[in-house]
Symmetry: C2
Subunit: 219 residues, 2 copies
């Protein structure tokens, strides 16, 4: 019974996700589902990356949180259009929530829509939001064993951002272990090493986002 219900929910979600994607395509918007653990640095990454991409492309953000609007306030301070979703307990965004939130944005005025998901390495893996790319953030502080323990979210991501690289000297984190795991789980995915705190490695990730956006616009 539980399984049937889950399948039905996922089927309905996939249909709504396809509708979201068609809407984003019609407006020439590249949609990016940004996932990662609580506190891995998703909002901080956006604060660091947006200054690099804004000369070339207009970003917009949908912020997903269980409660509060702290992250949306941070994005708003950058002058970037943002809509906050409060999931009221739900552990991941779904396509219906994103569709409703997208109605609050002028899609024709933006080129890149970042959907910052709820901090969760598990449940977010199962729900297509209508995005074109999924970017996973893993902070150095979480440890290099996470791909082995949460394989699904790594497998389905187009890029892995290893954040807080400035903390490497204070941990036993091995970037080689992460890269080896990614070669097995998601050989096509790009891996970026960066620190929003120092600015190290932000530029290559910003470039990758811009290239994805350009390739999408040209298609």
């Amino acid at each position: 019974m539980k399984i049937v219900a889950a399948k039905k929910i996922l089927k309905a979600n996939d249909q709504l996700a396809a509708e979201n994607r068609a809407r984003f395509d019609a407006a020439g918007v590249l949609a990016c589902n940004l996932v990662g653990s609580p506190g891995c640095g998703k909002t901080t990454l956006l604060e660091a990356v947006f200054p690099h991409i804004r000369p070339h492309c207009a970003p917009g953000v949908i912020e997903g949180d269980i409660a509060g609007s702290l992250d949306a306030q941070r994005i708003e301070r950058l002058g970037v259009p943002v809509v906050q979703i409060n999931t009221d307990g739900a552990c991941h965004l779904d396509a219906a929530m994103v569709g409703a939130a997208a109605a609050g944005l002028d899609l024709n005025a933006i080129d890149l829509l970042v959907i910052e998901n709820v901090g969760n390495l598990v449940c977010t893996a199962g729900f297509d939001l209508g995005e074109h790319v999924r970017v996973l953030v893993l902070s150095v502080a979480e440890g290099h064993d996470k791909p082995l323990k949460y394989p699904a979210i790594f497998q389905g991501s187009h890029a892995l951002v290893v954040s807080k690289m400035d903390l490497v000297p204070h941990t036993d984190f091995s970037i080689e272990e992460v890269r080896a795991a990614m070669r097995r789980l998601a050989p096509e995915a790009r891996v970026f090493e960066l620190s929003a705190r120092t600015g190290q490695g932000i530029e290559p990730f910003a470039q990758w986002l811009l290239e994805k956006r350009q390739a999408h616009g040209a298609a």
Copy 2:
């Protein structure tokens, strides 16, 4: 329909949790549900705490992971009895899984059962496993804003362990903000500041666990 199903599942879970708790009580075992984000340092905390408590009390562990047995191997190396649960995609443990896993342990030979939950700040909050205390681990690297964004898991916890305190000088983490949030969300909960890496603050947390165990055994 979804809500009804969820309520039924939770009701069944509560019944199984009560059965687990009765089993633990009969064996004089204090059960602790250890929750926190992926990579917050749950297993590392156990590795640091067990040497302090083992002269006084015999621990056992149930390890919950979506995949793999890395954490169970680490516990096994300490010579502590351990059973691994692989949830096969599920984002939290439930009482049925814990009941099945507990059958694989000799409860009469242990005094303290730590149930290390799947790394997840959301879904783990809703499921009673039959524990007597819930301990939440928050790593400094996750940031001090987490209580505002994931209030439910903070509210229901009996102790908050702020881990990786050695990273404070390398972040903008404010322990005062966390303590202020805890005074609002869970005024009864104890807050421990520690670093498993340096050993700082391990002893008071170990003492608290021993006191909880003694009070439980005496009750």
